[in-house]
């Protein structure tokens, strides 16, 4: 079967060989790797025979104390996603005049909600949401007591729906632990389907917006 231009924005690996296995098994043609791991396996990845775009990724957690990083830390050697842990930093991220990726996880869902999507729409530059599906699935699988899974998925569904309605870019990542304990693109597709997203919306999340995000990032670089 031909590969679809699907994207898995972040997957964790233990060894460079695992990347080859993952690429062979999954449909993803855009794959995000942690920056440090990417540097470690740079030579190995160059020899990959599959047609896959592999990009270095970095996740930065932002709160009131470290809010300055948003403006100072703009290294373009990796596609950075910011994870806001309070409302103030979420609002600052929305106001930045550069394209920015905001990570949506159970921790940041309270701050990256429907209201935040409205702020992202009002921004002068293109903003993207990256949904860390791996962390949400952890709530289901490991029966976390910190947050109810149903509440988290309900809130996530509303946020994503609002973002799609207002044409805010939405991409998905399946990182949980090291490969193979991760979500493949087909798993993410199944999750989106069970959340009630249509075929068109799922294509937008898995194919169209990640490509646009990649284009915007390469344009900045």
């Amino acid at each position: 079967m031909a590969k679809e231009p699907r994207a898995n924005m972040l997957v964790f690996f233990e060894s460079c060989k695992d990347v080859v296995k993952y690429v062979a098994e999954d449909n993803a043609s855009i794959l995000g790797l942690d920056k440090s791991f990417f540097d470690l396996c740079k030579d190995y990845l160059a020899e990959l025979e599959e047609e896959v775009v592999i990009m270095p990724r970095r996740i930065i957690t932002i709160d009131r104390k470290s809010i300055g990083i948003i403006t100072t830390h703009r290294k373009l050697d990796a596609l950075t996603a910011f994870k806001p842990l309070d409302t103030q930093s979420a609002r600052v991220l929305a106001k930045i005049r550069k394209s920015t990726v905001l990570l949506v996880s159970p921790n940041s869902l309270k701050y990256v909600n429907e209201a935040q999507v409205n702020f992202l729409k009002q921004s002068h530059s293109r903003k993207f949401l990256e949904i860390a599906f791996g962390e949400f699935v952890k709530l289901l699988a490991l029966n976390s007591r910190s947050m109810h899974a149903s509440k988290a998925f309900y809130s996530l569904g509303n946020t994503m729906e609002k973002a799609l309605k207002l044409d805010i870019g939405v991409a998905a990542s399946g990182a949980i632990e090291n490969y193979p304990k991760c979500l493949f693109t087909n798993h993410i597709d199944a999750l989106l389907f069970s959340m009630g997203f249509s075929k068109r919306e799922r294509r937008m999340i898995l194919e169209v917006y990640p490509l646009e995000l990649l284009k915007v990032w390469l344009g900045e670089e």
């Binding site: 079967m1 098994e25 699935v137 952890k138 699988a141 193979p180 493949f184 087909n186 069970s194």
Partner: protein, 152 residues
């Protein structure tokens, strides 16, 4: 005078019979409407729980130390554990076909449409909880024959 008394009795009797008929009709109406409500509820419930059959084609990816045969034997148990006992009342899952050459299998899901969605999620996250092999859903269809050509 006699005729007058007879007329009064006749009027009283007809009034009584009318009242009895009215009361009976009212109570009957209530009972009939309650029965109709019950019937419509039952019909709706029946409609809601209409069973559908869906087939899912899966690719099984195992790490070197994991045993694929043991995984396929245990697959139904894994998904059933994730679905839970109450969910399994209206949702059944069986392995329809297995290809050991291509490590693919077709599973049959019988239940309502929500059940199919839940099974898809359960088989997508089973490897996170239990470890071992990963089951990747490739295609779904309502007909077994449509998926059979992909199992090679």
């Amino acid at each position: 005078m006699e005729y007058f008394i007879i007329a009064i009795i006749a009027v009283a009797l007809s009034a009584t019979s009318l009242a009895v008929a009215l009361c009976t009709a009212l109570s009957l109406r209530k009972k009939v409407s309650a029965l109709l409500d019950e019937l419509s509820m039952a019909l709706l419930a029946r409609k809601k729980s209409k069973k559908v059959k869906r087939y899912i084609l899966l690719k099984v990816v195992c790490s070197e130390e994991a045993d694929i045969k043991a995984f396929m034997m245990d697959f139904e148990n894994r998904v059933s554990k994730l679905l839970g006992g109450i969910e399994r009342m209206g949702c059944s899952l069986t392995i329809a076909s297995v290809s050991k050459i291509s490590n693919r299998m077709i599973i049959r899901v019988t239940g309502d449409y929500q059940c199919f969605k839940k099974v898809l999620v359960a088989l997508s996250i089973q490897h996170i909880l239990f470890g071992g092999c990963v089951a990747i859903p490739i295609r779904t269809s309502g007909l077994f024959s449509r998926l059979r050509k992909w199992i090679y």
